[in-house]
Subunit: 167 residues, 2 copies
C-alpha cells in the first residue's frame, strides 16, 4: 500500500512461544525493514499531514531539518517485523498498552531493526490461562542509532488456553 | 490509501497556538473519524498481519470475538484528527514520546473522536524558545466507550521562535 519495502526475515520458521516458554531476560532480534521517502509521505498523507513528513523542501526548513517519518509510522514498523515472526508468540501479539520515546528522526533510506528483551512476566491473578508480559524494545537504524524505544505490555496465553474474554 | 473516511472537522479555521497560549486544564475536542473494515484490513496487511485484524471469519474465533483494528491503527487515527486542526499548535504536533493504553477493541463502522486536555507544561531549562507539553487524550467511539487513552509529550515553541535543533 505504501510502496515496496524489504523485509529480511530473521526467523523464517519460528517456534511458537506460549507464556510458559518465556523468561525475563529473553532476547529477540528482528530482521530489517527498509523505509523510503514514498512510504514516509504516503503514511503521513493518511495520518500525519505535516510538512516535515510530506515534502522534502518544506522539511529542510522545518524542525527536523529534512524529511522524517511520522512517529506513528516509526511505531507501526516494528509491529510488522515482530508479528511476522521475530517475536513468535503462539497466540499473536496482543497489546494492552505501550510507552514510546522517539529519540531521533527516521529518514528516507533508513534500514530499521528491532531488538527486544522480556523485562517482566505477571501471571493473571484471576485467569490462570494467561498473563501480562512486558517487552522492552529499541528500534535501531543502519548506523546503530537508537531512533525509538518502547515498552509494550502484551497479553500472552499458556499452551492450550481456551479463547475467553480479554483479561 | 486505506479507502475513504469521513472526517468532520471540528475546527475549520483554528487559531494557531504557541507555548504561551497554552495552560494546564485547556481542553480540545476533535471531529469524527469513520473507520470501516477495508481500512482495518489494509492497515493490518501493511503493519499488523494477524488474523483478528485481517479476516472476519478468523476474527470471530479469535481473542477479540470479531474483526478489530490494530492498536497501531487506533493510535494513528487521533493524529489525523489532531494534526488537521483539532489541536492547532502553530509549529505542528511534534511528539517526544507517548504512553498508550488500549482498553476496548475498535470495530468496523466505529465513529471515533478524541478529547484532549493539557496536563503539564514544562518550559525548557536550556532553550528559552520552547517547552514540553503533556496532553492526555481519550479516543471515544459512537457509544461513548473509551477505546484508547494516551498521554503524549509534545515539543511546543513560543511565538516567533527560530528553528533550531531539537531540545
Amino acid at each position: 500500500v505504501f510502496g515496496g519495502y524489504a523485509v529480511n526475515r530473521k526467523n523464517d520458521d519460528p517456534k511458537p512461544l506460549f507464556l510458559e516458554d518465556l523468561h525475563v531476560g529473553q532476547r529477540f532480534t528482528s530482521g530489517l525493514y527498509h523505509l523510503d521517502s514514498d512510504q514516509i509521505k504516503a503514511f503521513a498523507a493518511e495520518f500525519d499531514l505535516q510538512p516535515f513528513h510530506l515534502d522534502e523542501t518544506a522539511a529542510n526548513d522545518g524542525v527536523f531539518h529534512g524529511l522524517a517519518a511520522s512517529g506513528w509510522h516509526t511505531a507501526a514498523i516494528p509491529m510488522r517485523l515482530l508479528v511476522t515472526g521475530d517475536l513468535p508468540l503462539a497466540c499473536g501479539l496482543i497489546g494492552l498498552g505501550v510507552e514510546i520515546v522517539w529519540s531521533k528522526p527516521v529518514r528516507p533510506g533508513d534500514m530499521l531493526k528491532v531488538e527486544s528483551e522480556i523485562t517482566e512476566i505477571s501471571p493473571s491473578r484471576t485467569k490462570p490461562d494467561r498473563g501480562a508480559v512486558k517487552v522492552r524494545s529499541v528500534t535501531i537504524n543502519q548506523n546503530g542509532d537508537h531512533v525509538q524505544a518502547f515498552i509494550a505490555k502484551l497479553l500472552v496465553f499458556r499452551h492450550a488456553a481456551d479463547s475467553e474474554p480479554l483479561l
